[in-house]
Structures are given as C-alpha cells and as structure tokens.
Symmetry: C4
Subunit: 268 residues, 4 copies
C-alpha cells in the first residue's frame, strides 16, 4: 500500500517539495518533446535515411516508458477517492480524457496488424504535454483560458453554427453563380465549400476564384461577412476575459480607509 501511494505521488503531479516527483514530471516532459521532434524529423527523407535506426530505438524506448507509466498510473489511481474501486474506479480513471490521451499515445505501436495506417496517432503524444502544463506559473493562465472557453461555450458554439450556415449558403450561391463559367473548380457545392471556407476565414489561397461579375460581387460580400466571423468570437472572448479578470480583482479589493471589502456582492 505504501509503495502504491508513493507511486501515485510520483506519477501524478508533484506536490511542493517532492523533488523525485518533480524530476519525474520534467523527465516525461522532455521525453514528450523529444518524441514530437523525432516524429517530425522522421518524415524528412534525408534524416530518416541517416538516423533511421536511432529514431527507431527512441521510439521503442519511448513506448516502453510511456506504457510503463500508463500501467503505473492505472495501478495506483485507486489511491484517489474518486477511483477507489479496484475495477470500476480504474475503468472510470481510464476513460478520463487525460488517460485516454496517454493510451492513444502508445496504442498505435501495438496495433501494426490493423490495416489502416495509424502512424498519425503518434501526434496524440503531443497532447500529453497538457497534463504537465499544470506545472509552475503558467497554470493560472492556462486555467483562465480554459475557464473562459468553458463558460462561454454556448456562445462560441452558436458562432460556429452561424459560420456553418454562412458557409453552406455561400457555397450554394457561388455554385449557382460560377458552375457554368468554371465547371472544374466549382463542379459541385462540396467543391464550392472549399472556396467558401477559404474566403470566410479570409485565408484566400487563390487556387479557386470567382471570375464572373456576379461571382465576384458575391465573393466580396462573403469576404466582408468573413470579417464578421472574426468579430463575433473575438468579441465574445474579449468580454469573457474582461469579466474573469475583473472578477479576480474584485474578489481581492478592500477599501483602503475602513478595511471593508469593495465587492458589493460579499458585504454582510
């Protein structure tokens, strides 16, 4: 039991003063960074030819360490009151987003017999970084951003939905305007959606472009609406940050003269 508790303390985030656990956190963080770098480097033909063996060794080593870490985490999670039950507690723990990311980070290695190419799943490893982002002083900033996104997820979802409606409408309109003049580029509404997405997000690759006068007028109007697509989520997030930062300050404001809280909500 004592070994399990110590394991739990080490694989979970370091408490203050626990140097072993902290060293473990940093080692895992470095290994993740090394893995992502290797994953990127491996796709460059020149590097793959020259350092292929070393990259393969790193891959095996990483998967071994990540697998061991995952198993230790599953084994020791019953220390936490929420996951106390030996079976159901462990299952609930294994289904938390962070544990799933840990699983997907190693699973592809063990599934080479699956027909589809699962190599891109390796990029999931990168997201393991989030677990460790709780380290140190960036945690307040990360929590602020996460809180803001969570508190206003309905508004952001509605923005996304409005954008989707605009995307479909724009694609339909440009399809009817351009499909005769450019039967290749605007062969169907799904094809027109590629142009509409590039325009509404103001990316504007320019690989497909309206050429008819009607199409150009439509294109200009859609591009202007695209500006609004930026303004809506930006305005929502801006207001959300104002509210959060203001709340954080108000909670700690005290009247300098009488020592009472300036916060109207918490006055008795």
């Amino acid at each position: 039991m004592s070994l399990k508790r110590r394991t739990y303390e080490i694989v979970e985030l370091a408490g203050p003063g626990d140097h072993v656990s902290r060293a473990f956190d940093i080692a895992i963080l470095l290994l993740i960074a090394l893995n992502v770098a290797a994953m990127i480097a491996e796709t460059v033909a020149a590097i793959r030819e020259r350092y292929g063996a070393a990259l393969w060794a790193l891959e095996i080593l990483s998967v071994a360490i990540f697998t061991l870490e995952y198993l230790l985490r599953i084994w020791s999670c019953t220390i936490h009151p929420r996951y106390r039950h030996p079976l159901w507690g462990r299952l609930r723990f294994a289904l938390t987003p962070m544990a799933l990311i840990d699983l997907f980070a190693v699973l592809p290695f063990y599934l080479p017999f699956v027909g589809v190419d699962l190599r891109f799943f390796r990029s999931v490893r990168m997201f393991r970084v989030f677990r460790l982002a709780k380290l140190g002083r960036y945690s307040t900033a990360l929590r602020l951003i996460r809180d803001v996104l969570t508190a206003h997820k309905e508004e952001l979802a509605v923005s996304l939905f409005v954008m989707l409606l605009l995307l479909v409408t724009a694609s339909c309109l440009i399809y009817y305007a351009e499909s005769e003049a450019q039967p290749d580029a605007f062969s169907s509404i799904p094809a027109a959606m590629w142009w509409a997405a590039a325009t509404l997000t103001t990316v504007g690759y320019g690989d497909v472009c309206p050429i008819t006068p009607v199409g150009k007028v439509l294109g200009a109007v859609i591009a202007v609406l695209g500006v609004g697509m930026f303004a809506l989520p930006t305005g929502i997030l801006g207001a959300a940050f104002v509210e959060r930062i203001g709340k954080r300050k108000a909670a700690s404001a005290v009247c300098p003269h009488c020592g009472r809280s300036m916060d109207g909500e918490s006055v008795a």
Copy 2:
C-alpha cells in the same frame, strides 16, 4: 377550436412536458438537416446519377411535409392574440420573417414555369433551422448574440459604411495607379473593386496584384487600413458583449447599502 389549439401547440415551440410537440420539433429539425444534405449532395455528379431518384423522392416528400406544416401554421396562428383576426391576423403572421422563410422554402417547387432558375432558393430551407434554435439551452446564447447585434446596429452600419467608402476610394486610387501597367486586371474601377475587396478584408487571393511601385505602396497602405476594418466591428461587438454580460450580472447584484436589488429595471 380545441383541435386548432392543439395544432397550434404542436407546430409552435414545445412547452415544457409536451412530448408530442417536442417530437414534432425534432422531426422537422432532422428533415431540414436531411434536406440541406440532399441539396448539397445532389450537385455532385456521381451522387446525382446514382441516387437521383431517391433524392427526388425526398424532395417531393419534404415539400409535402413543409407545405402541410406551413398551412397548419397559417391556419392555427389565430390562436395567438396578435394574429387573432381571421384574415388580417393571418396576413400579418404570413409576413413575419420566420413565416416568409417557411414560404420561400417550398415556393420554388411550385414555380417551375418561371423562366429563371429558382433552385438556389432551396438553400433558404436551411434558415428554417433558426426557428428551432430556440430549443433548449442554446437559446440564451443565440438571444445574447442577436441582442448585441440589434443594440449596436447603428455602429455596425457606420463601420460598414466606412468600409464602403474605403473600398471605393481604394479602387479609384489603384485604378489610376495600375490601369496602364495592367489594362486587363484593372480595366475599370469596378474591376479594381474586386482587388480592393480582397485586400481590405485581407483575403488576398492573389489572382490580381499591383505590379507598379506606386500600386504596391498603395496596396500596402490599403492592407493596413484593412486591419482597421477588422478592429472597428470587433471592438464594437467586444464592448457590446461586455455591456450585456455585465448587465446580466448586475441584475442579480445586491446593493451594499440597503441590501436591495441593484437592478433599476425591475424595481417597483
């Protein structure tokens, strides 16, 4: 009369606990989604050839259901006090934006004899979704966004007007700078407007580009002004969201002096 009231309850939004009405709402929502998907799929040649008959059957079925729903809505709307009058009330109801959308969603089907191609009107069906967006918890978010856009429509209109002035000015200037060097791309001010719209919205397709030094300097200045075109509506919407979210909070705040609600609007 009782049948009319029940019909009204079903075709209008579901009250709490009215499972029949709720099922109706969801069925209509699914039919709309299916219709939009069919409309998009139909333009892909491969799908049209293979599933043309099925799509046509879906179209006839949808129009039948939407028409029936529209007629039921018109028939039963007199239950609502605002549209009580058998003729004028129904007419007023038929001219509300939501009822017009319902009408335009089916009308093109009945007007094949009209010369112009009305098929793109089918995309109007998509907007029927807004009626059902009132369902459930997204309604607060949708109302917030609508309120913000309504309360600041003058500021947004002025932003749009400033953008229009900039667009015309930019087109004139670039026309005089580039029309000699590129008589095809910048053949006239309306042609130059296509470039100006793509630049001010920072889409930047690159199909038309200034090539003279004067044109490039102008282009850079116009692109920078385009950044301002994003900043203005975004700033306005940001402030509007701050104000709304603040007001929503203020409505639940308590005065620190007498303990009564600070909300001036709901005080007797």
Copy 3:
C-alpha cells in the same frame, strides 16, 4: 443680411422643422451618390462609349452646383460667430477640413492645364458625404466611433509605429534570407517590403513567397507576429468602446431607491 442668414441656414445642416434646408441636404446627398456612381461607371469602356455624353453633362452640372454651393457657403459663413471677420473669418472657414474637401471636389475640373492627371481627385467628392452623415440617427454612432478614434489616437499611432518597425525589420531579414535564391522577387529591401506588408497584414497574395528553409521559418514567425498586429489595435479599440459605452450609461444611471446618481464621480 436676412438673405445671407437664410442661405446659411439652408447650406448648413437643417435645424428641426426646416423642410427647405432638409430637402437641400438630401438633394446634395443624392447628387454626391450619383457622382460617385458616374465616376465608377465612366471607367468601364462599354459604358463610356455609350453614355459618355450624358456622363459629361452630369459632370458639368455637378461641378456647377457644387461650385455654387461652395461659394454660398463661403459667402454666408460670416453668420457663424467663429468666422465673423469678412476676410480672416472666411479664410479660416475655407481651411476647415470639410471646406477643403468641398474645394478639392471641384478644383480638378478647373485645372485641366496642369500637367498631371487630377481625375482621381474626383474621388474626393465621396468624402463630402461625411458632412451629411450628421443627418439623422446615425450621427450618434458616427460620433462614438470618431470619439473613440480621437481619444486613443496616441495608442493607435504607437501601434502603427510598432507595425512599421516590424515591417522594416521583417523586410531586412527576409531580404538577407531570400535575395540569393530569388534575385528577382527579393531584389532589394523595398521589394521585400511588399512581401512583408502582405504577410504582416495576413493578406498573403502569394505572388512572392519565400522558398528557402530559413525564409520559410522567418515567414511563419512574421505571419504569427502579424496576428499580433491585429490584436493590438483591436484590443485598444475594444477597450475604448467599453469605456465610452460604459460612460454613456453611467452618466444616466440613477439609484432606484433614493433617486441619487449611481455615478460616484458626480456626488456632492
């Protein structure tokens, strides 16, 4: 004197109930809109060939009316206490931005003997619209936007200056990175500025692109900094709008219980 005062009332903005002055304002507004449309249409070869004479007649008529209006304005401006002096008052009035715009709107017509092509000065006429923008309910919105831009012009100027520094730095760096690989596109720093301006504003035409690895890394970094170039003025304007809209509301807020102003600043 009475004629001069009446002229002043008519050519300046209409007071409430002064229907003659209001009709004059609207007539001038329509003439400006017609002029801008004619200026744009004239550059289209097909229209110029067919309606050239009519457009020329409109031009002469417009210049005549605008000149007359300008002279009446100069003549009658001495009614206003600020421009009372027959000579210096009129000169001061003639040098106000709005009067200068009125002058530049007609001047090019009278200067055909000047070597350079002054036709593009005609686009100045468009800005005469601003005088009339004071009409009606959009004036509050226009004033709000103008106030915000004026109150924070130092911050916006600093943003612009930071952008200029970034532009020059980015151009230098990309020039040294790409000039060997692409001696045509990046022949000099001024040439590289065209690319840098398109990238920092995220327009991204794609007519010039880095092709070396160093250039691409630089390009990506500069593009990310370009995102910051949007965030800075947008953040400033957002905060400015929050402040203005908040102030406007605070000035009119009264405590619902005791009738005293909720505004802490104006309490006796």
Copy 4:
C-alpha cells in the same frame, strides 16, 4: 565630475528646459531615421551604383557618432545610483537591453573579419528609436501598451503555445492526408508546417494547397481554428486594455462616502 554629470544629462533623456540635451536627442533620432533609410536604399541596385560613395560616407559618419555616444554613455552611467560602481556598475549598464541594442548597432562594422555576413545586424539600429520614443506625449501610450503586454505575458505565452500545438498537429494531419497526392509540396512534416503556418495565421499564400478531399476538409477545419487563433490573443489584450484604462480612471475617482480618493495604492 561636473563634466561627467553634464555629459550624462545630455546623452540621457532631456529634462524639462534642457535645450542642449533635447537638441541632442532629436539629432540622434534624425540620424537613426537617416541610417534606416540609407540601409533600405542601399539594397536597390540603381541607388547603390549612383550614391554608393555617399552612403558609405554616411555609414562611417554614423558609426563614428554612435560609437562616441555609446562610449560617453558607458563612461557617464556611473552618475546613476544603480550603476555607481566603476566596473560592475558599468557592466550592469552595458547589459541593459537598451545598451545592448546600442552596442549591436555599431558592432557589425568592427567585425568584417568574421566569416558570416553581419550586415543585417544593421537593422538593429532601428530599435534605438525606442530609447527616444520616451520623448514627448507618445510615452504614455507606449507605456500603456508595454504594461499590458508585460502584465499578461503568461496568457499570451499560453496562446502562443496552443498555437504551436495546433501548428504541429495540423502539419502532421495534412502530411498524412496529402503526402501521397503531392509528394513535392508535402514532402515532410516540416514542409507541411509551412502550409499550416500560412493557414492558421490566415495568410494563405496559395503556393501550396491541399488537393485531396480529406486534405481540403482538414484545411477548412484548420482555417476555422485559425480564426480562434486571432480571437484568443485579441480577447486577452482587449480585456487587459479595459482593465488598464479603467485603473487609470479609478486613480482619479473620489469615494462617494467620505470624499477621499478611491485609489488604494496612493493612500498613506
């Protein structure tokens, strides 16, 4: 000692009424502007051929003046209490960002024997402008922007980190989707990163574009996430500006209860 103090007063920012020091500041500012202009002009072949000698003379003169100024600054900095120590004080002063910029502005000239081309270091001179930006009324605006960026650097760093994660993920996904169809443009993940950076920042050059259906869907989703990349830092900066401008106002507000200043920071 008196000479050293006078030198310090002149090379540091002018106090009010010190016309000699102010003239020195403005002269240095003009020389910097001239230098930047020369550096840009020199890269244009036509100008270099014609005015090469003059530009070279300006370069030597500038380096001489900047070197002299740097030495005077190092010599006289001991006047300031923080840098009092003849050796360590001067070293600490030499390592301040502004002093390092001053050093890098002249160093490349003295290091022609170094193999690598250091000419682009000359662009560092431009940043000397920041020292003089403290002049006059723009200093408040510059300080506001700097304060906002400093106070929220964690949030901005987290935004940048989220963007980096998105960049790597997007590159991996698009590489697996497009590398078969376009082995040249998407030859490796680092090559795919160029496309991902251009898309996430909504620059969208269009030199590389997805062509497979999966790649286009991915591209559209990544472009939409790119909109979020703008919204996050803009929202953070917007909220930060709201907070700062509010604080500036609060500092001058008077408490409605006792009439004393509400500014908690300046109360004795």
